[in-house]
Symmetry: C2
Subunit: 489 residues, 2 copies
């Protein structure tokens, strides 16, 4: 709509003061009339010419309408399906056992991880005291890491009756372990190189320890002593190679190893209790949402999705989108805020920068850089920068990060489902055109609409992937003939 | 949640500069380490201690979720009921005819209104030339107004086959006419009193015309002439008593009569076309919402409401709330913005102040004062102030306004439905405790929550009234035995 050329007002007189005078006289004359005039020329607030723009009440309106809509859906669902929540089922399920199988394979697989961890530490110790040559060490590490990542894949595939949730927990655990061990090995290698250089230069000259420092540090002579004393407080290279330090890193809420993590000076009990409460309550809420809202929607989507009925499939997709999105939001909060802060507080780990303000992200790239900071920081420090420092260009480094990320997304989804489709990989790939679209929209219509695109891709992309995987999962494991009888609740 | 006592940071040293020095040294030492440290002490953004508060992305999120939810409900409704919209039905219905009846009673009733209008004008003319005594004139006016307001009530009640929509149009039309004629009679009386005073004082003294003015107007001698010339441009009392002037007022978008309405100097064609388009499109959308979403919900609510099934009734109420609220919002926009501005533009009526920013209202009183300005202004000018000027206290004046308003709400709902229950009246009465609640909430939790209460009462109060009226309507007209077979679609 274009702005109307002129609002409703008397024609302006040539000089403003003259016009004001006339208006004042008119007002005086009108006010003196016996009919008590109560009208004067003015625009409606919704007219552009009124220049009124305070619509803050509609923000409250949107949140209220959202709550009322959700409340109704809660009630409708309750009337239709009754209570489907069963907390006991989850405890059973988390141990990794399906109804057909025996034992607790998920628990056993997690305990088994101590073996590759110990192997890694022993190799590092051997490298430090130089009883293992560098190349042998490197090869052993690589083999160890490959075995580490293949093991759950093989066990889950071979073992009968490994359920979905247990398998997901195992693959996530092994993914995190893989990234942490990669970081551990790489950081120790950096330290070893520096350590060896120092030792060889010390052998060559008998110069004092301080001359080894960079010249910039010697500028401030007064603080030179301070520096030395501070440096002595820090753990130096070979001293860090012990099981206690390694386990602290493996438990710490970060994927990037360093020898001296910043620490807090005490555990805040109130803070700890709140986070524990959030983890327990939040997990229950996510489980409720999944059992009560998502599972019926997913199962009901099977037939329309299989028949390519567009209206019904879209309806199912949108119906799934909202509970899925809420579950994801709560999952994000309990994982990245409550759980990681809880672990951080227990271990007195001071860096709690687990996420940036992705909810304000104006484009897709910013979202991916801000929602999962531990992984983002790992990717920059241990993959992107090393590749760039090795002399390759930045594009190759970016592509490498992208492919590793796509691989692990696929790994954490396909392995538990035993459906080796590439929907998660495709989902990651679709971020590239989406990113261009969001950038275009942001430039053309402003950052508010860029943010809308980011939210839309989150809200709608996830349920689409879930529906595709579920559809393929049913077809792979039960056959197309089962589609019809399995498609109803 | 209370703010955590201390964030995650190193203990402050006694002097800030000293602390900064230490931190700078520490940073330098850490940066020089071979393990490329990447962690530093900081809080998560959701922690109170982080003092982060930019959550604007969530406003976009809320609007997006609202759109997605609405889109899904649209689809679900389409799949369930197909297309129920039938524009032709409305043209038929608006003329006032039910399937059983004959003729177009609504049209006839509206044309009939010319008789009380002419009566009113003739009486005013008689009073002006003093061939009708004041008391006779007053009694004739009162009788005329009472007949005016009772006529549609009786016709609708007696005539068979008068449908709901036609009857609603007639009662609304007669309500507006009643208020306008009240204003016309009262303003003319004010003018007559002043006119008679002037004439009698002119008879007594042969003083010049200008000495009759209030002394305050003589202060500015220079503008005295201007005042006189301006005053001569204005229509003076007995000259306004003609059919043309009266019909202009009856058509104008205001309920308050005055002799010289502010006028615009031209009709803006673009503006006019936009408003015409809005009225036509908006009316169609409201009709669609009613036929497609509201009617099925209302009919389905009958059985649970009758059985007092709380869960299902609440679900129905919430299901009805959203389309009803959207219909009301569009209705508000097309009536108070598009339609009144359209009429105003056609009649070159310059005062377009038909509504204030009720969407930001922080309490219930403000909402009632701002959403319908023509009625609010009428009530203040023609009921509240006259009662106060007659020497009664303000409380009585307020109560009078409230009761007249409640009467007309009841009139416009009960008469078309032929169900003389007091739900609309009760709805108006419930504004009093609601107003106290909103004031308390606003004081206790801030104006944002006061605004939320106002919106909630709008969103939930209306569908509750609709369900109660529909329930009673069915029981009154079809008997309780019909409840069961009528309750399903």
């Amino acid at each position: 709509m274009t702005k109307e050329q002129d609002g409703i007002r008397y024609r302006r007189a040539q000089s403003v003061t003259r016009a004001e005078e006339i208006q004042a006289v008119e007002k005086k004359v009108r006010d003196s009339q016996p009919d008590k005039p109560c009208h004067k020329p003015r625009d409606s607030l919704f007219s552009w010419t009124s220049e009124f723009n305070n619509f803050t009440g509609f923000v409250n309106w949107a949140f209220l309408l959202l709550s009322i809509g959700s409340l109704r859906l809660l009630l409708e669902n309750f009337i239709k399906y009754g209570i489907r929540v069963d907390p006991l089922q989850w405890i059973y399920v988390l141990t990794g056992l399906n109804e057909g199988g025996s034992g607790h394979p998920a628990v056993i697989l997690i305990i088994y991880s101590l073996i590759p961890i110990t192997t890694c530490l022993l190799v590092e110790k051997g490298l430090a005291v130089e009883i293992i040559p560098n190349t042998v060490g490197l090869v052993t590490h690589i083999v160890n890491l490959i075995v580490l990542i293949l093991l759950p894949m093989i066990v889950i595939h071979v073992k009968e009756g490994f359920n979905l949730v247990g398998a997901s927990v195992v693959t996530s655990f092994y993914t995190v372990l893989f990234l942490k061990m990669w970081s551990y090995i790489q950081v120790n290698q950096w330290c070893r190189t520096t350590h060896q250089k120092r030792r060889s230069s010390m052998r060559r000259s008998s110069a004092s320890y301080s001359s080894l420092r960079k010249p910039s540090e010697n500028n401030v002579d007064s603080s030179s002593e301070q520096l030395e004393s501070k440096e002595k407080e820090l753990v130096q290279y070979p001293d860090n190679l012990n099981l206690r330090d390694m386990l602290y890193f493996l438990c710490a809420p970060t994927l990037c190893y360093e020898l001296n993590f910043p620490r807090t000076d005490r555990i805040r009990k109130r803070f700890l209790i709140k986070r524990i409460f959030e983890v327990i309550a939040g997990t229950q809420i996510v489980f409720c949402v999944i059992q009560q809202y998502m599972i019926p929607s997913i199962i009901n989507s099977l037939i329309p999705f299989s028949n390519m009925d567009i209206a019904e499939t879209t309806e199912r997709l949108l119906k799934l989108a909202i509970p899925n999105h809420l579950a994801w939001l709560i999952f994000f909060y309990i994982t990245f805020h409550s759980y990681l802060n809880l672990i951080g507080e227990l271990l007195q780990f001071a860096d709690r920068n687990f996420y940036a303000d992705w909810w304000n992200a104006k484009d897709v790239d910013t979202f991916w850089r801000s929602w999962n900071l531990p992984v983002h920081r790992w990717a920059v420090r241990h993959l992107y920068l090393p590749i760039v420092e090795m002399g390759f260009n930045k594009f190759l480094a970016g592509v490498s990060v992208f492919f590793l990320s796509a691989f692990f997304h696929e790994y954490m989804v396909s392995v538990p489902l035993k459906t080796y489709k590439i929907w998660a990989f495709t989902g990651m790939m679709s971020q590239i055109p989406l990113s261009s679209l969001a950038n275009y929209v942001q430039k053309r219509f402003g950052s508010r609409w860029g943010n809308m695109i980011v939210w839309s891709s989150l809200i709608l992309g996830q349920p689409l992937c879930i529906m595709m995987y579920y559809h393929d999962y049913v077809i792979t494991h039960y056959g197309e003939s089962l589609l019809e009888e399995y498609g109803h609740i």
